[in-house]
Symmetry: D2
Subunit: 401 residues, 4 copies
């Protein structure tokens, strides 16, 4: 694959797949194993127990599905809902749009609540709908915790508050693909019924494992949900959970060992410290954007995302040129603007196993690229702003003090 | 994972997941990459072109789906059929049974044609059905090329011959999970409409990629098939094929590089040589079984499988004890008997990146295990029989002559 | 490197370098690190402590030298002896010959005590020399514990006994390259003054680390030894040991982590169990050789080596053809006969991270090769003999019971 | 090794060992092999041929020795000189000092020509000595091309010019440890007689291979050199070169494959482009140092090193604190000041497989550290200065245009 090669490290700042830490790469560097031997179930048992911690749930039932985030979406929907069910779904960017597309193609009746791209979910609209829905025709509220296309984080606690306020029994289904393990996420406290993520996001693994967690209420709903499903059917998993062999079909041995190590690293750092690190990197990025005199695609601070920042370029620049230039000259991988914001924003993913100097290297690269494409940024300005903040907020590495 | 450890190599002889060759492990030993950079599409393009060769098709359209064999099944069915469609499906062992279960749960009307486990598909029954079906209500014939549970290989050419004889337009959907890249498989010549396999089988990779190939007729059927599908929808792939970016959602970067190397190794050895090697290993295994005085679960030579041999144990022995003993004493992983043949057979998988001495090591292990569990096999007898054959049939390693 | 490729695993049965266990390969799969950070000294400290256990010494001082076995030899000699010093050295095969060559080129006066190749060290000759040496002109006795060329193990306890009997103060320098971690070795009990091995032997790592351990008496000798040395000078190490930074020059980060894991695996299995396993594999190999009607190059049972067996071929066969054929047809790597026994013996290395079925696979391969080159061995005969013994002696894998 | 762990990548900016590119890590991720099979000699042959290119020699004879740079020094000296030989050696920093220490301990008569640390070799002194040495008692001139402790690059062409001017036959022995593959180095053109480097420096591999190249004149000298040597004796290599088996003792299989890939990467980038990249990174670093208001330890531009920069800290700061802080807070590995400049300088290694954004990340980290330890640097100032230069000088990545 000749043209991939460039000297030095690739600076991977797309919002997924993200950098894999060396210990996880090492853990996955192995031959296959018989997944029916006692070893793999024993390993799986620890994974199912520990993976609940990243959702902050004790009552949830997790599923480790050999699929992507798109498959995890499908698993969440088809196991809890029946064709024709009414659901409320928020359209705030490309990934919520894709989920809604899936919801529609799965034959749910989707009440799409649209916001301008760059804004969060319209919770007032949700309130109205909940209020009006005395007969509880709404079976589920579907929301993307963090919209990766625009860098918008929705307020899940507020959604739960509304549901409680109206005593509405709708299920709360949450796409946590670019949030879980990076943003504050509290499945039990927020009454999330299905939460899901993918291995290649903040867990910092390769793609290939969709991680879905279902509340007792979701598990109950699964008993009557009539959506057709086989590969994604939770019941097939539950059957094998009971047997203690865990797998209805062959899992990736490598991803299981990778997940074990990924979790170990998260717990060693401390999940709250991981979240604080993402908060730090997010804020530092935003300070740089501000210093560059550019706009964040996200319109209000309350929605700022700590995992991805979509940067709006001046109208005379095509953001795709930023991404291309970063790749072809500086070995820097940035995210493209998608759909409505194509050409208008480029994205800096700052999630997963990432530290301060990696981010500053990226920011210095973005500065050079911006100059390359004709935007008169002051070199060093964003780095300086970010560094000023990071120097005050970065903790010592606990294990090295 | 302490209790996995045993000195030396694990001898992996389950019929999947199988041994991964070192070059593939190396190729996958890498960080993530941006799958929207020019590199990954360029890589994918070569994969889609080259993967057709393992199906022996020039007209087929391949899909590399982040899923398992079970997902590949679902992809084959839902893209070509509509709920209520009548299909004929052969039940000859656990994996055909599971596929039939999936077919039924996906709401097709399944004409199950059952054979005794250990026998191949009942083609006479198929002939009757085809003959009777003047109005072409049968939309598809579903057949497992190689039933992994019993070590039975079905005669696909004969199936095609029947369909042609009766000029029946039914689609021919083939599970090639434990055959493709190991047994003779000719998609175009045999008029297979959808063929599929999984990465962890004869391709000798980790689990995680379902490889599905569709004939032009299958692609045409996909346009009108009404089965609900999103994650498995070929159209989503086709849209991105046209764009030249190839991926509707994030692929596993590692598996892509792994597949590149796996294909390179297959082509370096020569696909026909690979198939000949499997034929050699299969025959050697059967000679050993015979020398041990044991029965092959497969009742007739015409059905003998060159990828897996299910060995029937005497009635006073529980085959699960054979598997357990092999694992706990000799670091040898054998396949359990499943469902109807649970306790009655153990399975030796001899597929994928495997050579003669590995197999002989396994056979010598099986001999010791058989003695351990009380079967009075003559030690060395199976190895001798297998070696006598292998010594006459094993070619020189081309690259070393 | 095209012509290396052959399907399946390479069966590596040379007496070094040997198979590396997957956990060690994984541990070494890493970027470089600053060896002056606190991490590497902390790691090194554990290594220096734990490596003493493989020598069975508590009073010895270990050195982990970035070199091969040949360098380790040089380290042992130049740190303890002065040019012109008289030493007694046993010539029993190619590796003792090479060591003697080194001793001579380093300007020691070497009393070479030669045995026929295939016999052990002539201890009677040693006794005579010690008896005659009232004035203690002999400064050291140099002996190869296990001669890798002929598969002869010398009796170190007997050497110590002689030295004690004659109250002779000569240093006892031992090449343990193909013995330590595989054969019973007791540095303190046997009063060995310098013992050494290489990482690529029974430690089952890549080549590159010479491991040398010096008794207090050897350390004392080092203070006055006048041999010129810099790279191999223990004093440079000791200086850094005192500083707690440990390294006079840059170590291989990868080998340090590899050694950590290699030791962990040895201790998990239990060093005595490791030695018992080698004893088992050695005996099984010899039983096979006997069953084939071939002779062991080693003339008496007391010298039989449990790490390598040199098999004498009939005079009408060139043993190099055995080795060549094994490689070109069966992907089996055997050891050539060296020097005096070139063409006459081939060698089976059975040391390091190796188990019973691997060995049986090798033996079945040797049988086929022997037939290929014209020796009328009964296929399966050696495997049967080995298996009969192994089935009675192989323990359950502790971690899996 | 708990306390190593910190989130994200370690930023490795010590002047060795340096970052290993992923393709090299992958190439080394392998089991051992028989080094006497045809494969390893075939591989070695290509290495010996290609490694000459990094020295820019066609007439030199290369040796790949399982050792470190210190061992490579010893190989260069002992193979070409005899005890008592007079040599001229330049002391300009810690590594030249260590080499001189080795020279003295190897019993050469060393004319030490000392410069203040931070200055280059005193070539006037050399001129005087050469002029005075009509009888050619000086057998060799030993010079470190790039003094890693102070970041000083000596002018080898000028040394050659002096030798030629005085028609002096002394051998020219060059330590190229931190220069070869990074700085302009021309063995043949400059009449270098022995040049050497270590694998862990600009070749970007693990430690463990000393690479030594000898001119025909050096090879001639080796025939009469009386220094005692065995492990490092070139003759042992030459003997095996003639046999075509290449190795007098076991090489590291992993390092051989690693070197193959390392060379491939260098040639793919183009050796001159590699050197230009180092020049670019070196200059960018110096611009940052200047912007910080700090002094380069190197006193004159003519000596500036493009592989390592020693930065002088203000007298009220201990440079060890800079290094410690970088490690404990920012996961940044910098080089300590050594010996005379301990506490006074810290070092930024910018050699090997490294690109612009990696360096800028490092520089931003250094800025934060400087503030942490009390130096009032303006955050972003160094990054800005470096980036301004890099933006103008960094080429497009050829393979991606």
């Amino acid at each position: 694959m000749d043209f991939v090669y460039g000297p030095g490290k690739n600076h991977l700042f797309v919002p997924g797949p993200v950098n894999i830490p060396e210990p996880v790469i090492r853990a996955m560097n192995r031959n296959n194993e018989d997944y029916r031997s006692p070893a793999i179930p024993a390993l799986t048992k620890t994974l199912l127990e520990d993976v609940k911690k990243i959702f902050k749930t004790t009552s949830g039932t997790p599923f480790l599905i050999p699929t992507t985030g798109t498959g995890a979406w499908e698993s969440a929907l088809t196991n809890t809902l029946s064709p024709g069910d009414r659901i409320v779904s928020f359209l705030i960017g490309q990934f919520s749009l894709l989920w809604i597309d899936q919801q529609q193609r799965l034959n749910f009746r989707v009440d799409v609540v649209e916001s301008e791209w760059g804004r969060g979910a319209d919770l007032d609209a949700l309130a109205s709908k909940l209020e009006a829905d005395r007969s509880h025709t709404i079976k589920a509220v579907c929301i993307v915790h963090n919209e990766t296309a625009t860098g918008v984080t929705n307020d899940l606690a507020a959604v739960r508050k509304l549901l409680d306020e109206y005593r509405h029994p709708a299920l709360l289904l949450v796409d946590g693909v670019s949030s879980i393990c990076a943003l504050d996420f509290r499945m039990d406290e927020w009454g999330v019924d299905v939460a899901l993520t993918g291995s290649q996001k903040a867990l910092s693994m390769p793609t290939g494992m969709g991680i879905v967690c279902a509340s007792p209420k979701a598990m109950e709903a699964a008993k009557t949900a009539k959506s057709v499903r086989v590969f994604f059917d939770w019941n097939d998993y539950l059957k094998f959970y009971k047997l203690g062999t865990y797998w209805p079909y062959t899992p990736s041995i490598q991803l299981l060992y990778g997940l074990r190590t990924a979790l170990d690293l998260l717990f060693e750092e401390g999940l709250d410290n991981v979240i604080a690190r993402h908060s730090r990197l997010g804020k530092a990025t935003r300070l740089a954007v501000e210093a560059w005199g550019l706009k964040n695609c996200t319109q209000r601070e309350e929605w700022f995302s700590d995992t991805v920042t979509a940067v709006v370029v001046p109208s005379y620049i095509n953001s795709a040129d930023v991404v291309k230039r970063a790749w072809t000259r500086y070995n820097l991988s940035l995210g493209l603007g998608l759909n409505k914001v194509a050409g208008k924003v480029f994205r800096i993913g700052h999630l997963g196993n990432l530290n301060e100097l990696q981010l500053l290297g990226c920011l210095s690269g973005v500065e050079m690229v911006l100059r390359d494409v004709g935007y008169p940024v002051k070199l060093g300005s964003g780095v300086a702003a970010a560094a000023a903040y990071l120097r005050n907020s970065t903790p010592m590495i606990t294990s090295r003090i």
